[in-house]
């Protein structure tokens, strides 16, 4: 799948982003290629490393107001500006923007497309400089820690030594935790929302369904489909299965129930009779226009490999031993993908490590996706947590 890069930036986001005078490293829709290498958990090294990223707001003179936003599995760097492929507003404008908890008037906000993804950072669809062809399956298998090590390279390039905060939901939360564990001296605060310190068997199982759907699509062709038809049928099924895990049973019932789609009676066929079927099909089909199937394989793999306690003899508290980073964890009661118990495990480990940790479970009917939706209590909590860090 060839991704056309269209730089469409709405007027208000352009206004929102205040560029640092003459410093072309900061701003919207930025690209950087760094020599690296990134030392990968697999033992391999990866270089050179391409980054696609955005910044909003201005880095203050003592460089103490930088906030890194980490995105989820299918997210990207367009946190608060228009997505170039879908034309939709940024994915976290409820949290990031003027008068929001993360505010370009106060913070220098950085968001980086993760390694392995497909919105401009190095991933399986990128060209391998050695062959001038897409990496496809020769792209190395990476981990969440590898993504974070790569991000650290870009922050070095931006001249940002210490982050006021790393903030992320879902896989973004895994990165925030990894940042705090790998670079404790570079992270003053970490906000971890609807996330986990390890992928459970159930998490891995759902991802495996998605991967098998992609690999069962004959167009996948062992990953070598660039320049040809992409395995969109497989990718759409993967997205449909995953999308169910982002919602809640109560939410689905409320939204769709057993209502039929544009018909008065069942068709006694396999058309999308039910509204929920039609909705899922739409989610699957619209996803393939903006996402690369191989990226989906690599990133889900990285998430499945995630177990922050593993390198610490299985004791999560050891990952945070002696940390001075402040932590804020938020979970949602209807999230069954990364349920509250997972956040609580992290909190217990942080308590055992003596870390300054806050945690709250918020109520929402919307399941895992709640962190992307209107959640005034989440905003109030994050706002207070960040401001308290700034006044220290």
């Amino acid at each position: 799948m060839v991704l056309l890069r269209v730089s469409v930036v709405s007027r208000e986001t352009a206004d929102m982003a205040m560029y640092m005078d003459g410093d072309t490293r900061f701003g919207l829709d930025k690209k950087a290629q760094l020599l690296g290498p990134v030392k990968l958990d697999s033992g391999a090294e990866f270089a050179p490393v391409e980054f696609a990223y955005e910044t909003y707001g201005t880095l203050n003179p003592d460089k103490s107001n930088a906030i890194l936003i980490c995105h989820a599995l299918t997210g990207d760097q367009y946190v608060a500006s228009k997505h170039p492929l879908t034309g939709k507003a940024g994915w976290w404008t409820r949290m990031v923007g003027p008068d929001k908890p993360i505010d370009p008037a106060r913070h220098c906000i950085i968001s980086i497309n993760v390694m392995g993804s497909c919105m401009g950072s190095s991933g399986p669809a990128s060209l391998d400089p050695a062959t001038s062809a897409p990496y496809a399956m020769s792209f190395p298998v990476i981990t969440i820690a590898d993504m974070v090590r790569a991000q650290a390279l870009l922050l070095d390039h931006l001249g940002i030594e210490v982050l006021e905060a790393v903030v992320g939901g879902s896989m973004g939360g895994m990165q925030a935790l990894s940042w705090a564990a790998l670079y404790p001296e570079r992270v003053r605060s970490a906000v971890v929302i609807a996330s986990t310190a390890r992928h459970s068997a159930q998490n891995i199982a759902f991802h495996e369904v998605g991967r098998q759907a992609i690999m069962a699509d004959p167009r996948w062709n062992n990953g070598a489909y660039y320049g040809r038809e992409a395995p969109v049928a497989g990718l759409a099924v993967a997205r449909m299965a995953a999308h169910i895990t982002y919602l809640s049973e109560a939410g689905l019932t409320e939204k769709f129930g057993r209502r039929l789609q544009n018909r008065d009676a069942k068709s006694f066929g396999f058309d999308a009779d039910f509204q929920v079927e039609s909705y899922l099909r739409y989610q699957g089909l619209s996803f393939v226009d903006r996402f690369d199937a191989n990226s989906y394989l690599y990133i889900t793999r990285a998430m499945d490999y995630f177990d922050l306690a593993e390198p610490h003899d299985g004791v999560l508290a050891k990952a945070f031993a002696g940390t001075k980073t402040r932590f804020c964890l938020i979970s949602f009661d209807s999230d069954w993908l990364y349920p509250t118990a997972e956040s609580r495990c992290i909190v217990h480990a942080l308590n055992a490590a003596g870390a300054a940790a806050s945690f709250v479970e918020l109520s929402s009917p919307f399941g895992h996706d709640a962190f992307l939706l209107d959640a005034p209590e989440m905003n109030r909590t994050v706002d207070g947590f960040l401001r308290a860090g700034e006044s220290r």
Partner: protein, 197 residues
């Protein structure tokens, strides 16, 4: 600090400056904020109610949503100078285990509770023949969060059994301090400073 509840004001007064405290059942964090602001205390809190937690975190406090009956087990021994349990003991499922954790986690522990043997309560029970509903215990028998009422004498004998030493005690009638004499009959509230022997 004038806005603090009288039992909290006693605790706030007695806590050493620069101490590390865990406030179990910290509510929206009033005591923690007061200790942070006036005594430079490193305060951590635990609270069951999500809205209170959000308010406390918005105050800049480190508070985790948790249940004293379940989540205290995860704190290491002696990890705080003081563990504080104010007006929460009588709401726990197993106050004995909560107290054990409290004196394990804190090198010292403050515990405050309403005294169920205060004469008004005795009077209401004896002559009314009904579960007492008073100013300090305003709930009815079916909706009260206070499921383990305790008297000052009960508490003392419990401490005795567990070899927990009393290092300070304060008694209140309304918001006025009163002395130890006949406290079990006359005091509405008690505050104890404890240490495990």
């Amino acid at each position: 600090m004038t806005a603090l509840r009288p039992d909290l004001a006693i605790i706030a007064r007695e806590v050493r400056a620069n101490a590390r405290i865990l406030d179990v059942g910290c509510g929206d964090g009033l005591l923690m904020a007061a200790l942070r602001d006036t005594k430079n205390v490193d305060a951590r809190g635990m609270e069951l109610d999500a809205r209170d937690v959000a308010t406390a975190v918005a105050r800049g406090l480190s508070v985790v949503q948790g249940d004293a009956d379940v989540d205290l087990a995860n704190y290491p021994d002696g990890s705080f100078d003081y563990a504080i349990l104010s007006q929460t003991l009588q709401t726990t499922k197993r106050p004995d285990l909560v107290l054990d954790h409290l004196v394990r986690i804190g090198r010292q522990a403050f515990v405050s509770f309403p005294n169920f043997a205060q004469w008004r309560i005795r009077f209401a029970h004896m002559f009314g023949g009904r579960m007492p509903v008073t100013e300090q215990l305003p709930h009815r028998w079916y909706d009260t969060p206070n499921i383990h009422h305790v008297t000052i004498d009960d508490f003392r004998s419990f401490l005795d059994e567990r070899n927990i030493r009393i290092e300070g005690q304060w008694f209140l009638s309304g918001d006025k301090p009163r002395n130890e004499r006949l406290a079990n009959l006359l005091a509405q509230h008690a505050v104890f400073l404890l240490r495990r022997d």
